[in-house]
C-alpha cells in the first residue's frame, strides 16, 4: 500500500510484519518513514503489523502549504488509521508530539504509546533543526545531521543537494516554521494510556522528557545513551525497549 489518500493528500505508507498493529510517526524536516524502516520497525515487525507513513511535506507524501501543527498532523494520522483496530503508537520528535496529540484526542484508539525524543516546549524543535535558516546550504545542513549520517552524506553531492531542496521547500513554501512556533504546549495530565518516554542522555530534549514523565500518570522515562536521533544512536536498545513496552 505505497500511496493512499488521507485528508485529500497523497500519503506514502509502508507496512512490515503481521500481528497487533503499531503505527510509527517520524520527525520533521530530515525525517521520513525510513527513520523507522531501517531502525526499530523490522524488530517490531517480528510480532506486529507495523505501519509507517511519511508526514505531509516529507518523504514521498504530498507537500501542501499548510497544516504542520500537531492537531492537523494528528488528523492525518486518524485518516491513515481508520481501517485499524486500536493500535500501539510510536513517534519520534515532532512525530512524538503528533502521537501524543492523537492519543489525547482519541484515547480509545491507542493501546500503548511511546514518545521518543518529543521536544518540549514544542517550539524547541526549531533549535534542533538549526538548518532552518533562510540560507540553508549543503554545509549547514551537514552540520545539523545526526553524526551517524554525516559521514555518509558528506561523501558526495546528490544526497546533500536533495536534502537541501527538501529543507528549502519546507521552509519557503509551507507554514512549517510558523506552525512549529505557534504550537501550544500539550496538557498530557489527563492521559491514561501506558506510555514510554525514551530520551537520549546527550539530548537537549531530555528536560522536556522529564516534564512529560512528571505530567503523564504512570509514564516511564527511559534514558538511553545518545542524542536526539536516538533511533540511530541507540538503534538496538531503542528497538528492544519499544518491543518490551508494546508487549506490556
Amino acid at each position: 500500500m505505497p500511496t493512499v489518500t488521507a485528508n485529500g493528500l497523497a500519503m506514502h505508507v509502508q507496512e512490515l510484519g503481521a500481528g497487533p498493529p503499531v503505527v510509527m510517526a517520524h520527525g520533521l524536516v530530515i525525517g521520513s518513514l525510513a527513520s523507522w524502516y531501517f531502525t526499530a520497525a523490522p524488530e517490531l515487525a517480528r510480532e506486529h503489523r507495523v505501519r509507517m507513513y511519511d508526514l505531509r511535506g516529507h518523504g514521498r507524501s504530498a507537500r501542501p502549504p499548510t497544516g504542520y501543527d500537531t492537531t492537523t498532523l494528528a488528523g492525518d494520522l486518524a485518516a491513515l488509521t481508520e481501517d485499524l483496530p486500536a493500535f500501539d503508537l510510536v513517534g519520534h520528535s515532532w512525530g512524538g508530539l503528533v502521537a501524543l496529540r492523537f492519543a489525547l484526542a482519541h484515547p480509545e484508539r491507542v493501546r500503548r504509546l511511546a514518545i521518543v525524543e518529543g521536544p518540549l516546549p514544542p517550539s524547541s524543535a526549531l533549535e534542533l533543526a538549526s538548518v532552518l535558516g533562510p540560507a540553508v546550504t549543503p554545509e549547514t545542513l551537514l552540520a545539523a545531521l545526526p553524526e551517524s549520517l554525516r559521514a555518509a552524506v558528506a561523501t558526495g553531492r546528490r544526497q546533500a543537494e536533495r536534502l537541501v531542496a527538501t529543507v528549502v521547500a519546507l521552509v519557503r513554501d509551507t507554514t512549517l516554521l510558523a506552525d512549529v512556533r505557534a504550537e501550544p504546549e500539550p496538557d498530557a495530565s489527563g492521559l491514561r494510556i501506558p506510555t514510554l518516554l525514551a530520551y537520549g542522555d546527550r539530548s537537549s530534549c531530555l528536560p522536556g522528557g522529564r516534564r512529560l514523565a512528571a505530567a503523564i500518570p504512570g509514564a516511564r522515562l527511559l534514558v538511553l545513551p545518545g542524542g536526539h536521533y536516538l533511533h540511530l544512536d541507540a538503534r538496538a536498545q531503542l528497538a528492544e525497549a519499544l518491543g518490551a513496552h508494546l508487549r506490556g
Binding site: 505505497p2 509502508q14 512490515l16 521520513s32 518513514l33 525510513a34 527513520s35 524502516y37 531501517f38 520497525a41 523490522p42 524488530e43 515487525a45 511519511d54 518523504g59 514521498r60 551517524s148 559521514a151 555518509a152 561523501t155 558526495g156 553531492r157 546528490r158 544526497q159 536533495r162 536534502l163 540511530l232 538503534r235
Partner: protein, 91 residues
C-alpha cells in the same frame, strides 16, 4: 536465475526508484555502493526494498536482512552484497 540476471534486475529497480541519472557516472557493478557511489536517499532505499519484494516475492526477506546489519555496514552496503543475498534466498 544467475547473479548477472539478478544484478540486471536490481539495476532496473534502482532506475525505476531513483531515475536513470544514477547511470550517468557509469554502469552499476557488484562493487557499486548504494551510499557512496549512487548516493541513494534512505526513502529511495525503502522504495527499492518494496520493488525487490514485488519482484522476487516473499522468499527474499530484504528488510529482515537489513535489520541484522549495523548502521556502518548499511552505509557501506554494495550492490554485490545485495545480489549475493537475493541469490542465497532463491532455490
Amino acid at each position: 536465475m544467475t547473479n548477472a540476471e539478478i544484478l540486471k534486475a536490481v539495476e532496473e529497480s534502482l532506475v525505476e526508484v531513483a531515475g536513470d541519472e544514477l547511470l550517468v557516472a557509469g554502469p552499476i557493478t557488484p562493487a557499486t555502493s548504494f551510499n557512496a557511489d549512487l548516493e541513494l536517499e534512505s526513502i529511495e532505499f525503502v522504495a527499492l526494498a518494496e520493488k525487490l519484494q514485488q519482484r522476487f516475492g516473499g522468499t527474499v526477506d530484504f528488510v529482515g536482512w537489513i535489520s541484522k546489519k549495523e548502521l556502518d555496514q548499511l552505509i557501506a552496503l554494495t550492490v554485490g552484497e545485495l545480489v549475493e543475498f537475493i541469490a542465497s534466498c532463491r532455490p
